[in-house]
Symmetry: C2
DNA sequence: GCGAGTGAGTTTCGATATGCAACCGACTCG
DNA sequence: CGAGTCGGTTGCATATCGAAACTCACTCGC
């Protein structure tokens, strides 16, 4: 029977990603930073996260180049945490999670709407196929081993 | 200074979503199910998750209608876990996380490639603005309170 | 029918992570 | 000077996790 033949971390970038940001707090912290909540105390107040955990998570994010600690005033020396490009690149993931929550838990009344600055309309996140240019339904997605996986027997995988 | 004025759970579907699937294992389990790894033992072998935790996560996902437990044979009664529509709708989030990991940790050699079944080319996930039809850069995204948030003073929020 | 084997959990228990509160150090303001 | 604020760190009780053992239902070979 076509069972999985190798540990998952070899196959999948999802694993690596979740090892880094897949705990209960990190994505919430990043969401705050995206929203402009960038300072230690603000994030703490907003999330209710324990201060020691917040300190740990922030420094881990800084270590991994997802956030950077920037001094924004000198009188009392104060820093804030800003997204790097690497951090900003997580935006699609956050948006996807938000849309899912909106759709399944907020009905037609999303608590927050994302807006395209230049045209003012609400945003959508879609999977587009660069080959045919069409929007892709999850059922039409198949996965196969890519070049980063040394070629051994990974069974055909279904998707959905 | 425009600070946050209310607890985050009121504002954001990301919070609700992460409360449900934002722990270290759940998204990995879902990824397995997406890939066709649907049975208790398979998932356990693949992820190395403790059996008690796997049992707990699976039943929570079933309780919340993300997976369903389906009997697939009767001789020895055996069940497998299948995605519901609600579960399949998480696909964009998983894809976004995977792309991020590919981009930042796999260089140009992603371990797994997603393929559009009908045309065979690798997939992309982009944020498209339904208003102007253009691909949206994260810098151009702003958020504002939506209809699901009873209107009180939520400050202007920046994004990135 | 009997013993071994398998899949899917559940229980137990020590290791780890979390949450809370108190403390600290730099700085500012009255 | 003394109180207040910001951004943490430390200590400790508790909650959660992980590994292994155990249970239970069922099947198979004999």
């Amino acid at each position: 029977m076509g069972t999985v033949s190798r540990p998952a971390e070899d196959i999948c970038s999802i694993q690596r990603t979740l090892d880094l940001i897949g705990d209960r707090w990190t994505l919430l912290i990043l969401r705050d930073v995206f929203r402009g909540v960038r300072r230690f105390g603000q994030i703490h107040d907003d999330l209710g996260i324990a201060r020691n955990l917040l300190a740990g998570r922030l420094s881990r994010l800084v270590d991994h180049g997802i956030l950077e600690r920037v001094q924004y005033q000198a009188r009392p020396v104060r820093h804030e945490y800003r997204l790097t490009q690497k951090g900003r690149d997580l935006s699609p993931a956050l948006i996807a999670l938000m849309h899912w929550g909106d759709h399944w838990y907020a009905g037609d009344e999303p608590p927050t709407v994302l807006v395209h600055e230049s045209c003012g309309s609400a945003l959508d996140l879609v999977t587009t196929c660069p080959g045919c240019g069409e929007v892709v339904d999850p059922h039409q997605i198949r996965s196969r081993p890519g070049p980063g996986l040394r070629a051994t027997s990974v069974p055909r995988q279904e998707h959905a």
